[in-house]
Symmetry: C2
Subunit: 242 residues, 2 copies
DNA sequence: GCTCACAATATGTATAGACAATTAATCGCT
DNA sequence: AGCGATTAATTGTCTATACATATTGTGAGC
């Protein structure tokens, strides 16, 4: 705790926040490190516990810290890389909104050698490709429909994963290396299949994010994520607004 | 306020949060609407002000609400579309981290008719294109280098903008309609120019986000955003991790 | 009518204290 | 040694209160 101090700049809780964040981004507190408890920090800074609490909670909300009762507060694993990935972790978005996340596997198959879907991926005809459709729900209401193609050669262990229970996205991010990602965001009316899964009327505008991931020259996975457009109010964006 | 009520599920502040968020996403409170003051909500729910405050603050932090002293709390403009855009508003990222945002224009010019940079944009040779380089700083330290090409025909008013004071990104989002965006994320070593602007050593890994925006068939703008890679700890992502 | 001072309002920050919930460690019993 | 109950540490939530700060509205004085 030596050297951890306020800078007299702005509200106290922000000063404390900065002090802690500085330790994290400055690599003095690496991921996994346990930081001092609220009480210790409270005493150290000479403030009330609620003030310390606010600083720490805000960092925890943003994913820099993880907190557990009786255990303490530790520096999160990927504290620093978050900004770029925030949009992709549906579960986190939902849980941060205070809603209950649930998951459902709809379909799953190994793509036959002559299937058209292979054209989306420049791989040898013999390469096994896993295709699946699943649904992410927020408080039981469909939130995102995910269609995904996975190169089994790039991620062989995925076949051992209980896909009816675990969504593939977070697992892939954690277990399969990749070097490049391509994104494409567009607005598309829902066809029958999507409308059905997301419980919308056919033709409802959806926000579609397509994400292709590569490891060097090897394609890893391709995800197509459908969101009910109304959630995002994209309308103002793709109809003239002036 | 009629009908706004707790659901007995989880902590009270989360219940209040849900109740408010429900009004927002359910379109009962449209963007611009002023929501009841903390005191009113406090009385309505029969809790202490700090509890209401926590619920509202968390929504404000995530951008669903905007708060101003004496004015009150209003529903933010793009409350619903936020998840998809979070990564692009540097200023917000910086200010949410409790750091001071500042901005600097480095270069600006109208691209000559025979310039190679035109190839990035499929437009007629006569179309005026504005090119610029600017820097976004966090607490005075370079945070993001932005290189941008703007189709002046799609955004004529940009020439009136005091670009040495205002960053073009937020202005474009607010004033120019677009229908599609393409993104590409990659990791690239900094060349001399980037290293110089971002105050890095040549060869330091940077996270580069390229974003092309279209309005129907008309290209609107192309942005290339450089981040010092160390900020994001991308390393684990583009070097094999197993 | 204009300007300046002041009041009113809403949020921002901070304190001190209380009890609940979770989980690791410990101690005692068999 | 192993099991179970108890204790302790740590965060989670909540209350009641106080003063600070920003901004609008209002009214007095000119």
């Amino acid at each position: 705790m030596e050297g951890l101090c306020l800078d007299g700049n702005g509200p106290v809780w922000r000063q404390i926040r900065r002090a802690i964040l500085g330790r994290i981004t400055g690599d003095a507190w690496r991921p996994g490190t346990r930081i001092p408890s609220e009480i210790e920090l409270t005493r150290h800074f000479g403030v009330s516990r609620m003030t310390t609490n606010r600083a720490i909670q805000s960092l925890a909300l943003e994913g820099h810290l993880e907190r557990h009762r009786r255990i303490g507060t530790i520096v999160a694993n990927r504290a620093q890389e978050r900004p770029a990935f925030e949009i992709w972790d549906v579960r986190e978005i939902i849980e941060r909104s205070g809603e209950r996340y649930s998951y459902q596997l709809l379909e799953q198959l190994i793509i036959p050698e002559d299937d058209a879907r292979r054209d989306l991926f420049p791989v040898r005809r013999e390469t096994a490709l896993l295709w699946l459709r699943c649904l992410h729900l927020s408080d039981g209401i469909p939130f995102q429909l995910e269609e995904r193609l996975v190169n089994v050669e790039a991620a062989p262990d995925i076949l051992d994963l209980p896909l009816d229970q675990t969504p593939p996205g977070p697992w892939l991010v954690d277990h399969v290396p990749w070097s490049q990602a391509e994104h494409m965001i567009s607005a598309v009316p829902a066809a029958a299949k999507e409308a059905d899964a997301l419980d919308l009327n056919i033709g409802t505008a959806c926000l579609v994010v397509e994400r292709r991931t590569w490891n060097g020259a090897t394609p890893v996975t391709l995800a197509k994520l459908w969101h009910p457009g109304s959630r995002y109010r994209l309308k103002g964006q793709f109809e003239p607004v002036r």
